[in-house]
Structure formats: structure tokens, C-alpha cells
């Protein structure tokens, strides 16, 4: 007969030793830590399923995906650093103009006959300097990043227009260069840009969760006072996030110029709202302290896909904006339900 009572501690203590927290199981841990990113993936897959049901012929054809995969990387290079800046509790609306300026530097260097790799370096330096400048303006000037970066977006775009008088730069020589082969050709029928975008996303994921920079971004976004009390240089972390956005915008600018062989003075303009939407569709909340790089990349995929998808599904282009908004609202509702905010 079993003599053990519920209060008898000998057996219960033994079982407590082997009892483990559910989050110790690897797959559950994965689910918990990536719930926002997985949520965005679910949104994307549901959308894809809807489109495929609407028009099975088009959505089982690879050419549609290949066209999305060419333009998607530009959005990813913009979205991923923006996740960092939202996590740190700021916002940067100047990235389209930074992208334009950095790509301008790239175009000027290539036009002058230098190797495109020097152009890329020039673009990266331009992006970093502009990011640093915008960051200093917001952090040292103690300005609202929403307004200050919006102003900087106009200022930088204005500078481009004043100096170029609206003229574009075409770069036909690009197609012969090895840099073009490396960054803008095709590999196994897939646009090579997407490999670079995936590499950038994976690098950023490590930077975000396993590097001092990313960890400080989280803490500063969560509680800047505590971060300062514990010896973290809050201003430097914030400016660092702005510099990262500048670098991401520069990469995006270079890729977009290489796709078109032309730099336009409006380069980057159309990205402001879709990229902002991608960050939040991806599952990064607006209040700072937490976020998901992978989700951001998936959000960029979702937002980039809507336009192609709507037309591919046989609806007229007039439906694009409506569905764009619908997807944004639905994903926000989904993330709200999926997330808990701790205070």
C-alpha cells in the first residue's frame, strides 16, 4: 500500500530536483524568445496562402518571387537598423535622405572613374557621418527624434536637389565591374542581393542579442536612467544606433543604385512609410526596450510582397493601399495580443 502523503517531503523533494522550467526545453525557449518574429511569419504565410488561393497559377511561378527578391534587400537593409533605433527608444525618419546622400556619394565616385568598391566605401562613410550628425543633433541637442529627424530628412533631400538641380546620374559602366558581379548578379537563379540581405540580417541578429552594443541598446531603451547609473554611456549608445541606421541606409542606397544603373535625386524617397511599417509589422513595439531583428526582416518581406501580391492576385492596383493598411492594422492587433509589456 502506498504510504506516501502529499506533505511527505522525501519524495517530493526528489521530484523537485528533476523538475525543470518549461523554458529549459530548447524548442519552447525558441518559441518564447521568437514569438514576435514567428507571429510576423504567420501573418506572411497567411497572406501568401490567401494570394495563392486567389490565383494559383501566378503564385506557383518563380518569376514573381524573383522580382520581389530583387527589391526586398533594399528594404531589409533599411528596416533592420531601424529595429535598433526603435528599441533604443528613438525614431529616425531621415534614413531616406541619408540613403539618397550615400548613394549620391557612390554615384559621384563611380562616375569619376574610380573602382566601385571605393564608391561603396565612400557611401558607407557618408552614411555613418550623416547618422552620427543626426544622432548628435537629437542626443546632444536634446531634441525630439521624431521631429528632428523629419527635419533632417527635408534638409538633406533639399541639399541634394540644390546641388544636382534634380538631375540624375547614370552609371552604365557598373555592369562590367566585379563589384556588380558580387553584389547585383544572380546565383542559382536567385538574385544575389538576397544572400547579402540574409547575411546582414543574421549579423544584425547577433549584434542585437549577443553583442555589447545590442544589449546596451535594449537596456537604454528600457530604462535610460538605470543604464546611466550602472555606468553605460547612454548618449554614446543612442548615437551609435543612429550611425548604424546611416550605415544601413548607405548599403541600401548602393544596392538600389546598382539595380537601376542610375542614381536619382529622389533615391530613397518612397521607402519612408513602407519601411517604418515593416518594423512594426515585424513585431517590434513602439515603446522601446524590446524588439526583433528577424521579425523586422519578415515584416519587410510582408510589406514588399503586398504590392506584387495584390496585382498578382488579379486585383487592380487601386487595392494596394487598402490591403497595405489592413495588413498593418491586423499585424499590430496580433502583436498586441502576443506581447506583454512589463513596467
Amino acid at each position: 500500500m502506498d504510504q506516501r502523503s502529499p506533505t511527505q517531503s522525501s519524495t517530493s523533494a526528489a521530484s523537485a530536483e528533476t523538475w525543470s522550467h518549461p523554458s529549459d526545453q530548447p524548442w519552447r525557449r525558441f518559441l518564447l524568445t521568437n514569438r514576435a518574429a514567428l507571429g510576423s511569419l504567420a501573418v506572411f504565410l497567411a497572406m501568401l496562402l490567401m494570394f495563392t488561393i486567389a490565383n494559383p497559377v501566378v503564385f506557383t511561378n518563380w518569376t514573381l518571387y524573383a522580382s520581389v527578391l530583387t527589391t526586398l534587400p533594399v528594404a531589409i537593409f533599411l528596416t533592420v537598423p531601424l529595429v535598433f533605433i526603435v528599441t533604443v527608444g528613438e525614431i529616425d525618419l531621415s534614413f531616406p535622405a541619408t540613403m539618397g546622400c550615400a548613394a549620391w556619394a557612390f554615384a559621384l565616385v563611380v562616375q569619376a572613374g574610380y573602382d566601385p568598391i571605393i564608391g561603396i566605401a565612400a557611401a558607407l562613410v557618408t552614411g555613418a557621418i550623416l547618422g552620427w550628425f543626426v544622432g548628435c543633433l537629437v542626443v546632444k541637442g536634446n531634441l525630439s527624434s521624431l521631429i528632428a529627424t523629419l527635419g533632417m530628412n527635408f534638409v538633406l533631400r533639399g541639399i541634394i536637389l540644390i546641388f544636382t538641380e534634380g538631375k540624375s546620374i547614370s552609371l552604365p559602366s557598373l555592369s562590367d565591374s566585379w563589384v556588380f558581379q558580387l553584389f547585383s548578379s544572380e546565383l542559382y537563379g536567385v538574385p544575389v542581393q538576397i544572400y547579402w540581405a540574409i547575411a546582414f540580417t543574421i549579423f544584425s541578429m547577433f549584434l542585437y542579442t549577443r553583442h555589447r552594443f545590442g544589449v546596451h541598446i535594449h537596456i537604454v531603451g528600457d530604462n535610460p536612467d538605470s543604464a546611466a547609473q550602472m555606468g553605460i554611456n547612454v548618449n554614446r549608445v543612442r548615437i551609435g544606433a543612429f550611425i548604424f541606421v546611416g550605415i544601413g541606409a548607405a548599403i541600401a542606397g548602393v544596392f538600389s543604385t546598382m539595380i537601376n544603373f542610375t542614381w536619382w535625386p529622389t533615391s530613397g524617397d518612397g521607402y519612408l512609410l513602407p519601411v517604418l511599417a515593416s518594423v512594426f509589422v515585424g513585431g517590434t513595439p513602439t515603446w522601446g526596450g524590446i524588439g526583433t531583428v528577424l521579425g523586422g526582416a519578415i515584416g519587410a518581406l510582408t510589406v514588399s510582397f503586398i504590392q506584387t501580391g495584390i496585382v498578382g492576385a488579379g486585383l487592380s492596383g487601386f487595392y494596394v493601399q487598402f490591403f497595405n493598411g489592413l495588413i498593418i492594422i491586423l499585424s499590430l492587433l496580433g502583436h498586441r495580443w502576443n506581447q506583454i509589456r512589463y513596467r
Partner: protein, 267 residues
């Protein structure tokens, strides 16, 4: 002769025309527990924020192990071996326990990439040491899920990880239950036994009386009195002293008054 760990000389802090501190002298020796007492607005919190480097003094000198320091800030303070458990605990509540324990002190390689395995193992060890009995929480749990006492535990775990020479506890027992308070006291005694120092700030005079080797009473931005433990017989006597400082115009009928005055004056 005991080693002087840290010394503040003529520290002043003003916010515009308002003086929060008007020339404070304070020192902490190696291996002693100093109890810092005083009313609300006496300048206790400002003083410890200056020690922690979170607030810059308007004027005055800070000496660490006898050497004057310049460019004092939070990072320098932690480098000098001072760990502070702030009253608000200075936690980032959306982050995990391990991230809070290693806040500003992330363990990683030279490129800045973190050694998560090492950090999580260390955080688990510290959590057991500090008395996290509940197995519901792992080092990866979010601090926002924890109770007030457990959050305090995380803040203390952060302070003990570095084996700091001086641990500043700013009202560590406020809003804690009796058992949690007992845990804090146990921790203070452990730290003293290991030869390190503690600066204990408290509202509750009985708590401070129980734990400290020396009492420093602040009043209106100045150190009004310093007295060592062996000169005060009971907590009531300490309270009486503090009342005298707060309301010097109230002439007490207490017969012990002259003797106590003499004792206090000696230090």
C-alpha cells in the same frame, strides 16, 4: 590602523540656488558598516548618488584609497570597486535577469560579443546565493515577472558579482517583507565578515541600529553627527539624538542629556 576606502571632502551640490548638500565630509573604512540616517530631504540620496557617480558634485573632493580622483562618473565609480543598490533598484524590467545582473558589466570577448554561457551560469549561481528558492525563474526570466523582493535580490546579485570593496545599499529594506528584510541583513553581515564595507541608508532607525558599526546622521545637507556603535546603548538613544538634531529648540527633560552631548561631541 584601518584602511580608508573612500573619503568625501567638503562635497557640495546645488541645483540653482538650492543647496542639496552644503559641504559634506564622510569616509568609509575597510570592513565597516556605516549607517546613514536622516530625514527626508536631508541629502542622503544625493550623497550616495555622488558616491555612485550618477550625480556630479558642484564642488569638493573625492578620494579613493587616499588618492584624489578626477572625472568621477558611474563607470569610474564601479571601476573603483563601489557597487550601488539604488532605491529604485536600477533595473530594466523588460530584460532578463542575466542581462540585469550584468548591466554595464557584460562579460564578453575583445570584439564585444558576449559569453552568454558563462553569464547564464554565473547568474544562476548568484540567484542561488541570494536565495531564489522558486524554481519558476531561470536566468532568462524577465525581471518584470518578479516580485519586489526578488527584484531587490537581482539588484543585490549585481552588486555582489564584482566582489566590490564598498556596497552602497539605499533603503534596501523599504517595501520588503520581514523575511526579505532578514535576508538583506544576513547579506550585510556576510559582506562585513568577508572584510568588505557597506554604506547602509535607511529610514528605519531600528534596522540601521541593528546593522551598523557607525552612524552618520545628516540634516539639511550637512552631516549633523557621527557616532560609533559602542557609544550608543539602544536604538531609543539614537532616536533621541536625532530628535535633538531635528528640533534643537525642544529642550528635553531627559537627565541623560549632558552625558550624551559629551559622547557625541567626542567623535
Amino acid at each position: 590602523m584601518t584602511e580608508r576606502l573612500i573619503e568625501l571632502r567638503d562635497i557640495t551640490k546645488s541645483y540653482g540656488n538650492v543647496y542639496a548638500l552644503g559641504g559634506v565630509n564622510l569616509h568609509v573604512d575597510k570592513g565597516e558598516v556605516v549607517g546613514l540616517l536622516g530625514d527626508n530631504g536631508a541629502g542622503k540620496s544625493t550623497l550616495i548618488k555622488i558616491l555612485a557617480g550618477a550625480v556630479k558634485p558642484t564642488d569638493g573632493e573625492i578620494l579613493v584609497r587616499g588618492k584624489s580622483v578626477t572625472g568621477w562618473n558611474a563607470a569610474r565609480s564601479r571601476e573603483a570597486g563601489i557597487e550601488t543598490v539604488f532605491q529604485d533598484r536600477a533595473l530594466a524590467v523588460q530584460q532578463s535577469i542575466v542581462r540585469n545582473i550584468f548591466m554595464g558589466n557584460e562579460q564578453g570577448n575583445r570584439l564585444g560579443f558576449l559569453n552568454l554561457k558563462h553569464e547564464i551560469a554565473e547568474a544562476g549561481r548568484l540567484m542561488r546565493e541570494i536565495g531564489f528558492t522558486s524554481k519558476v525563474f531561470t536566468p532568462n526570466s524577465i525581471v518584470g515577472q518578479l516580485s519586489g523582493g526578488e527584484r531587490q535580490g537581482v539588484a543585490i546579485a549585481r552588486a555582489i558579482y564584482k566582489q566590490a570593496d564598498l556596497i552602497i545599499l539605499d533603503e534596501p529594506t523599504t517595501a520588503l517583507s520581514l523575511t526579505e528584510t532578514a535576508k538583506v541583513f544576513h547579506f550585510v553581515r556576510q559582506v562585513r565578515a568577508s572584510g568588505r564595507s557597506i554604506l547602509f541608508i535607511g529610514h528605519n532607525i531600528h534596522h540601521v541600529y541593528d546593522i551598523a558599526d557607525r552612524f552618520v546622521v545628516m540634516d539639511r545637507g550637512k552631516v549633523a553627527m557621527q557616532i560609533s556603535r559602542d557609544k550608543v546603548k539602544t536604538a531609543e538613544e539614537l532616536i533621541w539624538f536625532m530628535e535633538q538634531i531635528a528640533h534643537p529648540e525642544h529642550k528635553s527633560q531627559n537627565a541623560k542629556e549632558p552625558a550624551l552631548k559629551r559622547k557625541a561631541g567626542k567623535l
